[in-house]
Symmetry: C2
Subunit: 331 residues, 2 copies
């Protein structure tokens, strides 16, 4: 996309809140489930099964993304995708997003327009029928995108983390470790003096390009969440912090042990275990049952000392914690 001349692309500080909101809303038309879209005090969204699934997740400039690496479009896409994955992980179908933006005044209108494009296109690609139904805009020195996603269970029960039973198979749909590979490429190759610099795609090998794309614009298999629920998944969650940590959470919630098969974790099992941000779906199924798009990576056992085993050995990998691991001075 060619960049627009600055004369046609005002700074947000030179516009009113209303002008900025109109630019966003003209790009995010309400979809299937919207009964009343943006413009009033609140939106109204269909909840045909008599309940609504709701989750919220925030991306903050610094710990969660860098503008040197992430475009407005990528940011909108990722903020949508990570929230859609949490809805899918309950076995629900996403119906609506609410987007709260806190944006510095020195960004340009085109950034916000592309952000809206990213939200719209992520919904269209990952969760057709879902759309941005409302939002809020305020000024802040730190660019912050807080998204709430809503979903409908279509008369199914929610698939929680606590239903895994000994004998169930453990299965995954989606990438594991690819987004972490992408982050390693960004940190390793696109920084100068410890500061992020724009990505030069001509310097990327094909595999690196896919990894960077997975980090910046993840594509979790949203539609497979409801299919897993229909197939009879006993537990499900999305892998946001790496398989080891998230499988451990599910094992603890279900009071079982997850015995993983290292040979089923791809070319780089370490990265699959440690690497977050792919938002793959981790689910357990009764023996002999498997939903489309899922692959078996292990089996649930009676609870032992450890929550997660790999080929019989204890796995202990700490995930990423923003309070412990993010240092704004280092970046």
């Amino acid at each position: 996309m060619p960049s627009r001349p600055e004369a046609d692309d005002p700074l947000l500080g030179d516009l009113s809140e209303g002008q900025i909101l109109r630019a966003i809303l003209s790009r995010t038309a309400p979809a299937t489930h919207t009964i009343l879209g943006p413009g009033d005090d609140a939106a109204v969204i269909a909840a045909p099964s008599g309940s609504v699934v709701a989750t919220t997740d925030t991306l903050v400039h610094g710990p969660d993304f860098r503008l040197a690496w992430t475009s407005g479009y990528d940011l909108g896409w990722k903020a949508a995708a990570v929230n859609l994955a949490d809805i899918a992980a309950m076995g629900a179908r996403p119906t609506a997003l609410l987007v709260a933006l806190a944006i510095p005044r020195d960004l340009r209108l085109s950034f916000v327009e592309r952000l809206a494009d990213g939200f719209r296109e992520a919904c269209a690609a990952l969760a057709p029928g879902c759309s941005v139904v409302g939002g809020d805009l305020t000024v802040s020195d730190v660019l912050t995108v807080a998204v709430t996603a809503l979903g409908d269970l279509e008369d199914r029960r929610a698939v929680t983390r606590s239903g895994a039973r000994p004998g169930d198979s453990i299965a995954v749909a989606g990438e594991m470790g690819l987004a972490a590979h992408g982050l390693a490429v960004l940190f390793g190759r696109f920084r100068e003096d410890d500061r992020p610099v724009p990505v030069d795609v001509s310097k990327l090998a094909a595999g690196e390009s896919a990894a960077v794309a997975a980090q910046l614009r993840p594509s979790p298999p949203i539609g497979l969440g409801p299919m897993a629920a229909v197939a009879g998944a006993t537990a499900m969650m999305d892998i946001s912090d790496g398989l080891a940590l998230d499988a451990g959470r599910m094992a603890d919630a279900s009071d079982v042990t997850f015995a993983l098969d290292g040979s089923a974790l791809g070319n780089n099992p370490e990265r699959a275990l440690a690497g977050g941000e792919d938002h793959a779906l981790l689910a357990t199924f009764p023996d002999g049952v498997l939903a489309p798009g899922f692959r078996i990576i292990g089996r649930v056992q009676e609870r032992g000392e450890a929550g997660v085993l790999r080929d019989g050995r204890v796995v202990d990998v700490a995930g990423w914690d923003p309070y412990r691991d993010w240092d704004s001075a280092v970046g």
Copy 2:
């Protein structure tokens, strides 16, 4: 509330995300409408009428509040109240809040605990049955509280801004201008060298004390929103940016003119017209109909040149715009 010794009150930077979340969630127990509360990928909330009303509103340190004036408790209360008001303004009953916190590491645990207390007690006082069902926590240099509120229409139609008809009476429930008075007291009396300093309540006259409380812990009449809908309100919204601006928005949406009676606007009509943040409910009712708690302040006319008249004269008051009116250098 006596402040806790620092030894018992760790900095957030010395805790993990999980520890902080547990401290919050232990103080915000799920209520009536919660089918599945915090702890999984998403919450599940009852939506008995087959739709859900949803809104989001964010408070950012600087433009929206100052920690010198606002305690954690006040911040939680206000973040809840402003979102509950948007649900009530649709004629819906609030069922759930999702709270996305972006918090600097140099705040203490007690701040977050009191924030959670404020959310809980605002729900209990203003919208019984509603509670915090989920949230997200991340680190940021700018304290940011993004809240999404959900509500149920109880089989009624949503009351939008666009339904006011000529001949309807215009009515208000709640305070108008009190929160703005409070803000004026804070800016006028509790700053030194252009920076906010803590409020010394002993320096406040009784009226000032109520005004400051209305600014820091607004109490919109949430329960009256559903009652207005039941009574037959033709249009409704909450007054967040002052009566003049918000009545103008409703008049524009309904393509009518709002003729306000200056004598019905209280002791300080200018402040009622210009002052925001009370989150009073503005509604129109068919002639002869009025919901409990509402007082008539004017009558809807066929659309004329202006959207809002006061005693026959055009009212033109600009509201507050964070992009135009907030300057972090001035504060």
